[in-house]
Amino acid sequence: MEQLLTADGIPLKVSLKKAYRREKLSAFLLVAPLLLFIVVTFLIPIVDMLMLSVDNSIVPEILPRTTKNIQTWDPHSGELPGEEIFEAFVKDLKEAKKNRTHTRVGQRLNYESSGLSSLFRSSGRKIKRIRRAPFKAALIKIDKRWGELKTWQILHQFSTSYTPAYYFAATDTKLKSSGEFIILPDEERIYSKLFLRTMLMSALITGLTLLIGFPVAYLLAILPTKIGNLLIILVLLPFWTSLLVRTCSWIALLQQHGVINDTLVSLGLLGEDERIAMIHNATGTVIAMTHILLPFMILPLYSVMKTIPKSFVRAAVSLGAHPWEAFWKVYFPNTVAGIGAGSILVFILSIGYYITPELVGGNTGTFISNRIAYSISISLNWGLAAALGVILLGIVIAFYILYDRIVGIDKMRLG
């Protein structure tokens, strides 16, 4: 095939490529600030969280000699490590005590085995007393826990810079220092149950917002513009009200001596001691969150329904369809894009919800995010919080992919 040339003799392909490249570059420069913003405020923190969830560098940094030497010891040998490892450890602990870092290592290892925090703190106080060999006997004299196999197995297990331990903890499993992998007994499982509860309740809340939101959006869309706009303010007004205010008003309404129970009792429908527990449990979370997330369902539905010509249903009815059939077979399929958008919005928002479950959830209505917040601000186990966060992120991405496979993300319309 003959090569096409431009007027100045350059092949058309090359010339086009050049023109496109310039266009691409200017397009890239236009989005560059946004890209940079996303990288700095979104991607870097996520990568940082990923790193934090496996990071164990604190142990090899504070106990460099021990972590290096202990590799030569077989933790399953049934014998304590040799004198040279004890010597390395005494040196490390002395140095750590001087830098006041020994308690940090104790804190880190205490997540794996309760008691190591005080072991490091008290041993640090007494470590100056050990001046010469034999180090093994001297250390065991300071605290007999240094003579236990388990202490050294933990040190051996957590001597590397990276560890999967936080992920085991976040899924209610454990890799024991003896090498045995176990699933925690039922009464000690917490995170797997909370993940499951978070997803089930989020699905329920999504279903409820759809059930309530669909007729509301339909009404808004078919009413004359003047009345419709007035009504949409009623949807937007709570949407603009602070989340805390809305949650707290639900507490006032639903509590044992709240508006609803008081009314029912004064009407004689309930006895004084039959008041219904509607808050500080799962019911409270579902009611409050359904109300709070309702606008996120109504608005996408409304914007999609607004674009469906009224003539569609009229045409179907005039062609002999029953009004229900006309709605179900003609109107409803046109709203699927809005249902998809609303549902995925509500579901993903509720999976990460924190304040409302914290305030009204009691024991049975709290979500995994409440445990993440607890690990961040109270127990300070940031590694565990990061692992839980990564798993939560993974679940959201999985649902997104699932949604794309089943419905197709390109079909989603937010307005």
């Binding site: 804190q107 925090s117 009464e187 024991n363």
Partner: protein, 366 residues
Amino acid sequence: MNSFIPKSIAALTGFAMILGLALPVSAVELVVVSWGGAYTASQQKAYHDPYMKMNPGVKIINDDSAGDGVAKLRAMDQAGNVTWDLLDAVAADAMRLCDEGLVEVISHDLLLPPAPDGTPASEDFGDLIVSECFIPQIVYSTTFGYRKDLVSKPMTSVCDVFDLKTFPGKRSLQKRPIDNMEWALMCDGVDPSNVYDVLSTDAGIKQAFAKLDTIKDQVIWWTAGAQTPQLLADGEVVVGSTYNGRLFSMIAEDNQPVAMLWDWQVFDLDGWVIPKGSKNKHEVLKFVQFATDTQRLADQAKYISYGPARNSSAPLVGKHATLGIDMAPHMPTDPNNSKNTLLQNYNWWADNRDDLDTKFNAWLAQ
């Protein structure tokens, strides 16, 4: 519109000039982080106001985020920008911050003034110095208050909380294992001096949970100190645990039909720690010296019913600043209130907190 803009610019410039004049450039600003509400107000009146009067060059700025002070301080340290000069922390958190190396180690006798009779500071504070970084301020307690009008007879023992037959109705307990596990074991017949030994065994933990199981469906779990007073005021619960100062305001200031159940109150401590990396270390040390002397600690008790941490302050505790009532009978440390008390075993909880906390939450979720 046209005439508005120049006018507003002129007004803004004028305002900025006034601001510039009002703030002397040389002022040292100390950021003091505390718990907010009535507690910060009591510190403001007892420590901050008199100190600023004596030192016109110092300005004390209150920050009310002590509630998550530990996490925030750790985040600041990792970011390399500590903006706090002084942090108010409970003893367990002070220990943890000290362990993590986030706060300064204090030599109490060198830094703090002795008692008026010459007793060195370390003896005056005594056992309350639970960490080498911690300067104790107050002794508070977690204890129960109950609605006088909703029970058939006065509650006298902490075990009444576990007695659903005589005292039916909901109870509120703090959503954490600390205190609750100890009370459960003591009410299940464990000798109070053995509580922590028993809790160190798996069987002991099971025993405590089994006791708590007997009231589990009647418990509302609280996370903020203000919740129990609200629940009591609404009649949502008949009895609930909270900090004694909160119950004092309910009873003495708001005249609610609530009475104290001091039996086996759990003492806890609150005090100052100095964040490492504070930019005004010299100034903040001078302030701490002033704020933790015998008279100032006694002064704080005029505004809130928490016991001063110095032994020498106790005789100086007077009347409430506005109500005019004697404060001594409302102090957790008053002999009538402290017949049976438990001091939290900080070392034990530092070791076992994470483990028991997971077990406690798993138990809650069942």
